[in-house]
């Protein structure tokens, strides 16, 4: 080739750029083509929840019982919607695209033919997910603040907690999707895991309203812990102990999901 000279030097040092970074670069480059539509929808959906549930339904709630726990209903759900949005965006980025990378556009096959390994492939995509979740949540939080639902500067910490939650859910969704042969399993995941979690993990009403036997189910979900922590931070009622406990719990989901994702991808691809 005409370009022979510099090649072998670069070839012998494949680790010059960390693998996860070049994978994230690829995802960002793909995202550049669709960012506008995607950003609008990741931001519009939570805003609709806030408008419909918060102000519409909230009017009834506030009139009949004076809000939830002493705050107007819209302020009660805003931090919940923040965490739930993080989950939705995270899972949205590691479901269809994971099956696609394995079966449809086969991007993972291309990646793994290079010096990259399954660990790089997963880490790079999760780095991109972190970017997606953080930007979506930031925009939402700004709007929520303009609507007067943010009551403490600790809301910035809520942003970090929400991102952690989005990543944890994304890693688990990755591990699940990497086992699938087609997208039927994803429909089940969204219908029976993601949507119920969104509705019943304390996002729109305190889980104390759930029947007693259902409450432990809510405690198990990473979303409830993120919702509870975000709510305390945004409303300025946080105490370090519970918040740190919640963060540690969600982080444990992230670590477990991440580890499973890498293991599943390796078993699927390196055969």
């Amino acid at each position: 080739m005409a370009t022979t000279t510099t090649a072998t030097a670069a070839g012998t040092a494949p680790a010059a750029v960390p693998g996860w970074r070049v994978v994230a670069e690829h995802w960002l480059r793909k995202y550049r083509r669709v960012w506008f539509g995607s950003a609008i929808s990741s931001f519009l959906a939570p805003l609709l929840y806030l408008a419909g549930m918060g102000f519409g339904l909230g009017m009834l709630v506030d009139r009949s019982s004076g809000g939830v726990g002493g705050v107007p209903y819209v302020a009660f759900i805003a931090p919940g919607v923040l965490a739930a949005t993080a989950m939705q965006v995270g899972v949205g980025e590691t479901s269809f695209s994971v099956i696609g990378g394995i079966k449809w556009d086969r991007m993972y096959h291309a990646m793994l033919a290079t010096p990259l390994g399954p660990g790089d492939v997963v880490a790079g995509q999760l780095a991109f997910v972190a970017f997606r979740v953080l930007t979506s949540c930031t925009v939402f939080l700004v709007v929520a603040a303009l609507l007067g639902t943010v009551r403490s500067p600790w809301a910035l910490a809520a942003l970090a907690v929400a991102t952690l939650c989005g990543l944890a859910c994304a890693a688990c969704s990755y591990a699940f999707s990497a086992r699938l042969d087609n997208d039927r399993g994803l429909t089940l995941m969204f219908r029976f895991v993601i949507t119920p979690m969104m509705l019943f993990a304390g996002t729109f009403f305190p889980i104390e309203q759930l029947p007693g036997w259902l409450q432990p189910v809510a405690w198990v979900t990473p979303l409830w812990h993120a919702v509870d922590a975000c709510r305390a931070l945004v409303l300025g009622t946080a105490t370090p102990g519970p918040v740190l406990g919640h963060v540690a719990y969600v982080a444990a989901w992230l670590v477990a999901g991440w580890w499973l994702a890498v293991r599943t991808l390796r078993r699927r691809m390196v055969v």
Binding site: A7, A10, G11, R29, M107
Partner: protein, 343 residues
């Protein structure tokens, strides 16, 4: 990279062969080539199992620098499994494998850094442009951005895609996507280019364009390793090949050698108006060195097709059609396995 065929030892003096060191064997006074004979790929008793199924059943392979080496065989012969093991994306189940002098089990990433891979099914990012595909792929090898950009430009020229550099990949033709995949496989300037069924599914014209590009790479000294079930492709591109069937190697040599060894110079094809061509076996007895019965014709392996045809006419046989041609690798395969390559 020095070109050296299999078995080339130290070159005779003088003149000094290109690429040779100025070291001279004190015993014979011969120039020494810088280990041109060290194989780039070395497999001994290589096995790949998927559960109970044995896809590759103990094959020995040696590929040397600058060689163009082929795996020829029908679908399911174990070619792709072999390629995946060489590409260090599939661990061998048995035997030994060395690629570029390293062990894929422990040095996978380092080996892959120096390989170019053209997989059987395209794995391009169809949402990105032609040029962007080369950029992101080059980055996977840790190449700096400016190097990737420069290289992309010359590779697009090589792949005759310069005027499509900014188009999104999705609507491109199959031949263009294939050329882009090959260009992508060259982005790290690999020492070996692995091509799995490079022209399967392309129309004849696109195949010829692709062969022309691969032939150019071959002339530039790139080591090509390819699988194919097209005998014409193997004849066009391979210096040396192995014929695979049911996970085993059934023959090895250059296309010419294989034809000389396993077939006659010419073949006379006779088509009769019948459902069962074996009925005519007795009628053609003695005309050919060997006869193969296919569903729709008889193949007579002869030294001279024209005189064999004369003999057929003399015997009063009236085939619907008859033609004589040179032997091909298809005939070699038929002889070795009793089956056709493409079914």
């Amino acid at each position: 990279m020095p070109r050296a065929g299999p078995g080339d030892g130290p070159a005779r003096v003088p003149p000094r062969p290109p690429g040779a060191k100025e070291w001279v064997d004190v015993g014979t006074g011969e120039y020494l080539l810088p280990v041109p004979d060290a194989p780039l790929i070395l497999a001994r008793g290589l096995v790949k199992r998927f559960g109970d199924f044995v896809a590759v059943d103990g094959i020995d392979v040696e590929v040397r620098p600058g060689e163009s080496f082929g795996f020829l065989g029908p679908n399911g012969a174990g070619k792709s499994s072999t390629m995946r093991m060489i590409g260090c994306v599939s661990p061998p189940s048995g035997g030994t494998l060395q690629v570029l002098g390293m062990d894929p089990a422990t040095d996978g990433p380092r080996i892959r850094a120096r390989l170019g891979v053209v997989p059987q099914r395209d794995s391009l990012d169809e949402e990105l442009t032609v040029e962007e595909n080369l950029w992101v792929y080059g980055r996977y090898f840790g190449l700096p951005r400016h190097v990737v950009r420069e290289r992309a430009r010359s590779l697009l020229e090589f792949a005759q895609l310069t005027d499509r550099a900014d188009s999104v990949v999705e609507p491109l033709s199959g031949g263009m996507k294939r050329r882009l995949t090959i260009a992508r496989g060259l982005v790290n300037d690999p020492e070996i280019l692995l091509l799995d069924e490079p022209t399967t599914g392309l129309d004849p014209q696109a195949r010829h364009v692709l062969w022309d590009r691969l032939f150019r790479l071959k002339r530039e000294g790139v080591t090509l390793v390819l699988t194919t079930h097209y005998m014409d492709e193997a004849e066009q591109l391979c210096d040396r090949l192995v014929v695979m069937d049911h996970g085993r190697i059934v023959a090895e040599g250059s296309p010419r050698e294989l034809i000389d060894r396993y077939s006659t110079r010419e073949v006379l094809e006779l088509r009769f108006d019948t459902d069962d061509h074996s009925r005519y076996l007795a009628d053609v007895d003695g005309v050919a060195e060997r006869v193969e019965v296919l569903a729709d014709r008889l193949l007579l392996y002869v030294r001279d097709g024209e005189s064999a045809h004369g003999e057929i006419v003399r015997r009063g046989l009236e085939p619907m059609s008859s033609l004589w041609r040179r032997s091909t690798l298809e005939d070699v395969f038929l002889h070795l396995t009793g089956r056709s390559l493409v079914d």
